[in-house]
Symmetry: D2
Subunit: 143 residues, 4 copies
């Protein structure tokens, strides 16, 4: 994929920096390119549902925000991204030291992008797919 | 609806008390009965995406957890609830002083319940529907 | 709700008349108004998955098309509707003489509408909710 | 993936043969193995929404049924598959001579499988991804 924004890196970096909730949880931008983005989260007791199991809301925040940044990388400079809807399938209980997420634009568009995110739990040297998000991200003019 | 658990109140209360992430965000159980549950969240800067707009992850955490507690109210005492999947439609930007969520079991079942949650933003005396979740909650034996 | 198209009735009727697949299945427009639409389908052996159970594809076609017509009723005359995505929960096995569907716009918008459809199975004088669709319908310029 | 049913081929073939609606549309089983299945549909005017565009209901029927058969291949002999829910993203208008669908089990389970289907439109020697389904398939005892 090729980005329509020559300065898309700035837009993706800003997409992470601007979001207070993402910073509050401890989610960190890892890497990105045109049409994709990765991010990580070191797990702490406050992220849990019950002892040792990551809350679905934490997984969704990571998956949605990383998807938004992947979408941002395919968006012209004068426009921005807003999540319209997503679906999340929780595949396995999330346990381990950290989460790693990779988002990939499945279909870029002029009015909206369709993006998929996969969330993995990292425990030692084991990496397990724990959830998958599919979402629609609207492309809107910046004010 | 009628609960199959005569002590369902205890189960719903425990469902809120047990979840570290829900407490960390500030989500508070408001009210509940057989097949439904309500919860609230006083908004703070850390819940935001950009200034003044609640992050989709906050809305989802509130909607999913309240749905889980509504599901819990329709679940026998020897079983518990695990979210299988959900879809969230973000309908309007979330702004205001607090969020209020009402979850309602659409179809209770022996193996899983289907639950809907509506999230409203409260600004002064105005209450606006900002997102809707539909989810599938598995009914599993307690260990 | 109030329609932005004074001739929305014509647009809804055309929405049903134009679709070969909907006519082929036997789906018939029942009633409509601003923001809602109903349709019916008399069941035949060819609609089944196994003997006596309606195929999910039949339910989805009915739910999606009725949702599209409800969306059409809230769309300006120079624009049309295209389904972006939907989620369907199959709640109970569909059996009986016919299906009845009611679609309701949950949130109208300038760029897309969010619509919900409920599908009921009719058996004698019994009416049972068998599935629910939530969908996003894009509002696009007519060529 | 490895099938828990040594006679899974029989179960998958029967899954296609039993469904009247799938036969009525003209959907044909193409190939399959443990955890995956492919199927095709030669397009005719009756499958259309408007001239030349395949109805979302046709795409969903193909995607859901192929997903069910992929799920069937990962299911013990004494159990069967029932669709709980699915989400479909319509990515591009479906036009061409035929549709081709590949379903893949993302996560097999004892109580339900999560399956993804991709639907492609075939026009001459061009193959275009037009929709993607993610679904939850319950594993239930045969009566």
């Amino acid at each position: 994929m090729e980005s329509p924004n020559p300065h898309y890196k700035e837009a993706v970096e800003r997409g992470f920096g601007d979001a207070a909730f993402v910073a509050d949880l401890g989610i960190v931008l890892a890497d990105y390119g045109p049409g994709w983005c990765t991010a990580t989260l070191v797990l702490a007791p406050r992220h849990m549902q019950q002892t040792g199991i990551v809350h679905a809301g934490v997984q969704t925040t990571l998956a949605d925000h990383t998807a938004g940044c992947a979408a941002m990388s395919m968006t012209p400079a004068h426009e921005l991204i807003l999540t319209v809807e997503f679906k999340v399938n929780l595949l396995r209980p999330g346990t381990g030291e950290s989460l790693w997420c990779r988002a990939q634009v499945l279909k870029p568009g002029r009015k909206f992008h369709v993006v998929e995110s996969e969330v993995y739990a990292i425990a030692g040297d084991k990496k397990t797919l724990i959830s998958k998000l599919t979402g629609t991200m609207a492309v809107l003019p910046r004010k």
